[in-house]
Symmetry: C2
Subunit: 348 residues, 2 copies
């Protein structure tokens, strides 16, 4: 049968009702930990993401992120990024789907919403980076950019570190003020809203872990000033994912041990885009394969551009729960003709 499993947002909701948000986040973090530890670039092949970018009707892009487990599946996340979505049409700025294709027959095996999954997997990657690069004790967290991604960043980090305090800045201060009520109940820290550009510029100070998750326009960064900081400051820089778009001051990025999620992609469109490979630290998967605990005491930046393998991992966790729980729609999307040489057999 040429069946395809469709995991729509209702199926996602039913999975979360059944297993809980915390458990789901833990599952993705753990699956990513296992996958990164075992990662072999010969066995998992990624094609550089590309897509269409445009500025009408608003600035936006649709791009695709393909990866293949050799001898297994091809996964393609197709993602739209439209930063005016929240204010102009009350929609998430990131809207995505992930498709899984069998490499024996080419059949579409599954299609799932990846809007929710993108938030989860981006959080999970930062959790792993924070675990590797920040001292293992309660942390003071600072967040610049309080949109959808910040919620899952804080949530994911809370699964690997106790969060003692949260300071939050957003250029729309009303968005910062609603952050606390968007956090899941398991995150107990209060949120101190930081107002004004002067305060934002100083957010490096009194912070153990900083998250930057902004929609800053290309060439409009950085979103924070360089300055005094704790010696072990760790930054999860989540927003940079486009040529010209960076969030951190160059002096800070260059002084830090910068850990890319994916070297080639970070050099093309991450915080590393003004740097060369020899200025960078190990990739995150390398840290998981060969931990360097001394980095927990140094200034570090996780350059999170979003890696296609993370999307495959998150989709497989979700689809695993769907299968176990009997959720999702199974449809005959593609034909299964009695005669494979007859293109009209399936429609007769």
């Amino acid at each position: 049968m040429a069946e395809t499993v469709i995991c729509d947002i209702r199926a996602v909701r039913s999975v979360i009702e059944a297993v809980g948000l915390d458990r789901f986040m833990d599952d993705v973090i753990e699956a990513m930990r296992i996958s990164f530890r075992a990662f072999d670039p010969e066995a998992t092949v990624t094609i550089d993401r590309t897509g269409f970018a445009y500025d009408k009707p608003d600035l936006g892009l649709v791009e695709w992120m393909p990866t293949m487990e050799v001898g297994g599946r091809v996964s393609i996340k197709t993602v739209g990024y439209h930063p005016t979505n929240p204010t102009q049409r009350s929609m998430p700025s990131v809207m995505a789907t992930t498709s899984l294709h069998d490499t024996t027959s080419g059949r579409l095996v599954a299609l799932t919403d990846a809007t929710f999954l993108t938030a989860i997997r981006t959080g999970a990657a930062s959790a792993l980076a924070t675990e590797q690069l920040s001292p293992d004790r309660p942390i003071d967290l600072a967040v610049i950019g309080c949109g959808a991604q910040s919620v899952s960043q804080i949530h994911a980090i809370s699964r690997v570190r106790e969060i003692r305090s949260i300071r939050a800045f957003d250029p729309q201060s009303e968005v910062a003020r609603t952050l606390r009520r968007r956090l899941p109940p398991s995150v107990v820290a209060e949120v101190e809203v930081v107002d004004g550009d002067d305060a934002r510029a100083r957010m490096l100070g009194d912070t153990d872990v900083l998250v930057t998750a902004t929609s800053v326009d290309p060439d409009a960064g950085p979103v924070v000033d360089d300055g005094a900081h704790r010696p072990h400051l760790h930054v999860n820089a989540v927003g940079a994912d486009f040529p010209g778009k960076v969030e951190l001051p160059r002096s800070l990025a260059e002084r830090a041990v910068l850990v890319p999620d994916n070297l080639r992609q970070c050099l093309a469109e991450g915080e590393a885009q003004t740097m060369t490979a020899d200025q960078l630290g190990p990739e995150l998967f390398e840290l998981l394969q060969s931990p360097r605990p001394s980095l927990q005491h140094e200034l570090t930046v996780f350059d999170s551009t979003g890696w296609a393998l993370e999307d495959l991992i998150a989709a497989e966790v979700l689809l695993g729960h769907c299968e176990r729980l009997g959720l999702g729609l199974t449809i005959d999307l593609q034909p299964d003709p009695a005669d494979p040489y007859d293109p009209y057999d399936a429609v007769r």
Copy 2:
């Protein structure tokens, strides 16, 4: 609402039941004619197709063909090509889906099977080429390769030219012998099965229109010998779509006026891949914009590699019928959160 229309194979079947195969083919031919006449490379942008190719468990590839109507939609056909599918797993060698994405919000607007549509649109393009490049009178048709694509090639050509006779060769002669019963009833010509490599090699002769639609391996072509032919012979060369894969003798391709479906793609992976741009004739869309009737009396080749715009056109014809007839599934695939800054809103 973040709704997505899913057009599964049952919806495709219901559309064909309602409108008929002939009418559907005519609709796609006409939509393509209108679209090619109006084609403006500034307004319709295509990204070169790319994908994963592999040889385990069998030779195959999964690739994607993206195109964008500027200010309109992004269409991505994701297509698997697995030539052992028919013999090894009784599945079509080409299995595809097409997704349509809105460029305002990035939402997935629709997903449709494109296995059936690929056969239809490849046929429709050959019909337009045949109409431009073959004399307008009853034709003797020859076909090399009698798999799924040959059925829709013959069907489509029959919509623009009366077919007087059909000769058919396939390396598996039992596949050639079942061709007649796979053709739709509106095609009335008998099929003469041509057996043996000697006869295949001579298939240029006594032919007005030749279709090559084979799964010949890269570097294993050509599939026909050069030789005597009618001066106005027109060839629809449909199989070449991969580096090294060509179906025609170089002497024939170079002597003919070769009309690409898409210049850049044909130079990369079509019959034109051993040639340079200055050796080629106009692209098919240019012929529709500025017809050259004298070409109907010359040796011509339509180099059909399969153009992403054709996939968008075919998907829009299908989805138009679905909408009119109330067919297809409408699902909430992606979230429509009350708070666009809350990635967990949709799953609470």
